[in-house]
Amino acid sequence: MESTQSTAHPVSANPNTLTIRYDDQVVRYFVIATVIWGFVGMLVGALIALQMPFWQANLGQYLSFGRLRPLHTNAVIFAFAGNAIFAAIYYSTQRLTKTRMFSDAMSRVHFWGWQAIIVSAAVTLPLGFTTGKEYAELEWPIDVLIAVIWVIFAVNFFMTLKIRREKHMYVALWFYIATIVTIAILHIGNSLAIPVGMFKSYPIYAGVQDAFVQWWYGHNAVAFFLTTPFLGLMYYFLPKAAERPVFSYRLSIVHFWSLVFLYIWAGPHHLNYTSIPEWAVSLGMVFSVMLWMPSWGGMINGLFTLRGAWHKLRDSVVLKMYVIGITFYGMSTFEGPLLSVKTVNALSHYTDWTIGHAHAGALGWNGFMTFGMIYWLLPKLWKTKLWSDKLANTHFWVGTIGMLLYVMALYSAGVTQGLMWRAFDDAGRLLYPDFMETVIQIVPMYWVRLIGGLLYLSGMIMLGVNMIMTIRNAPEKPTDAAVTVSA
């Protein structure tokens, strides 16, 4: 892809005004990457979903479940959701600051550097190079690259804020700031390790401390990679698509600050009843329950933005996707605190309930917010109509049904197995002493989950087709959008 007519220097006919041309090319790159990696990540997801009830689908050492599962999670989180939030940030930040990104070169280095990280993950994880820490599996050379690219992204973003032409930062930017700062701290804090080989390292933390740091990271990766940037996305793109202002300015202030403050404390709820000291786990649980409020603050601010605009849902697939996305945000941020409560966690932990919960968030919230954004951006970025509204609508329904099947199957599997593990007979012996009995019971649910996942994946393919066809209809060199400001 060639960089199009980038006018780094503002030009204008009128001496009293300036015309600022935005860098939309980098947004196009990130949108295309989102769709490609989304397909890859979900395809790997479907394969490992098949491997669970059907072990024969483990295709040798490089394609066995234990090595592919981290590939799936990394691809979906850092490649699919990652590229999506970068598209959102580059598109909206330029418009909210009325300025082109600080450095085109940095934007390109960010894009290609990030894709290089993804490719190296896709190569090293099947080869068995892994730290073994969930969602932080990549080994130290890639970790170093991630840190470098993230810093370049941060400098580019903050310098853009510095040269902004709009005095006040809109709420979306607050969430981007929180994302960029916190992910840097989490990534570096959790990845501190000493190398003992080219692709092998040991963390500086051991045992209990390593567990704590890992879930401080793991929980807050969900918070600051999959929640805050998507809230920023929601605050920019939802009012645009609905053509309504955000419901409440006050609510956005209150829920922003309480969300960023409270989220960090909640990590230990991943370690209920483990060897972590009791006080830390209890603190994690209390803060997790409190977190319910700011989370729903975001949901309410999103859904109420549609007040008086609900009729638009009938014709707008973009708004439909946002409504499902925000609703699932609300559901999974209610479920999260519920699962953090010790008595519930005693049943749910180690079962598929957790996986169901994660996918309600990932498929429902991250997936649908991304899809909504892309369907809205495609015509704008490529200066042409969306190829097929009908196909987009089909995507909406197939995706929704697939996701519902997926989470229902895993809730059912999780609760069933959790109850079987703890069941005693009248004589006080385990009712199912053989672990295998509790596995056989949930195998049918694994098949239902696979069907749900395949439906969701087919929706992703529909998006891919729609994107390709839309781009084909685009003018050869779509012009980047511009804005005129007073000099």
């Binding site: 072990w55 483990n58 066995s64 479940f65 234990g66 981290p70 892994t130 730290t131 073994g132 969930e134 804020l161 510095k162 005095k167 930062m169 809109y170 607050w174 700031i177 700062v181 916190t182 804090g189 000493i194 003992v196 080989g197 092998k200 390292s201 963390p203 051991a206 045992g207 209990v208 401390q209 390593d210 704590f212 401080w216 300015y249 960023v260 403050f261 960090i264 404390w265 990590g267 230990p268 009843y273 483990t274 060897s275 000291p277 830390a280 603190l283 994690g284 005693a346 932990h349 180690y350 957790t354 593990w421 703890r422 385990l430 002493p433 672990f435 295998m436 596995v439 056989i440 195998v443």
Partner: protein
Amino acid sequence: MSKFLKTDGRHRKLEGWPLVFTILTTLSILVGGTVEFLPLVLLESSVPTIESVTPYTPLELAGRDLYIREGCANCHSQMVRPFRDEIERYGEYSKPGESIYDRPFLWGSKRTGPDLARLGGKYPDLWHVRHMEDPRSTSPSSLMPPYDWLLRKDLAFETIPAKMRGLQTLGTPYSDADIDGAIETAQNQAAQIARNVSANGGPAGLESKEITALVAYLQRLGADLKKSTS
């Protein structure tokens, strides 16, 4: 509060100062992690030590890294919770002092298969070899993938000293003599496991293969605690 939240209030001012905004955000996210993490590092009582818990032998360490490489922790936890049903099913619940040499920790978050914290000594070495080669041969309806390549691939004994050196730097009490003799120690332990396997009717010639390291590690799981209670 209302002064702060009004559309022309103090927060609006803050929105015009990205640097201050960023600093305040950073401080907000640092509080929770710091308050929770520092006591874990500073208070010795957070992780009471257990006398019988010792570092892994060179071969067990290599086996542990194979456990990490194959992603066993994706489906198996190593953390028995203090519940009646778990103690009944797996054994003594897990203690903080048991994992002081675990880098990374391998407690896991999902039990597609059973917990392994108390696996050591539960089955003979040969059972593990058969089970890794073909899980259905020992557990008929198992969903576990086969790991037959572990019986064919040679173990990289030569990487063990550098790993132990790294752990020594981080505080694991390996002596220099331990590290210098690591390869020989590992080969001796591997030979012993291989002899045990073939003597019981299993395949011969496994002493140079990865499987012996993994078996050594699996047999070590929970063994320290049993030492202290016996």
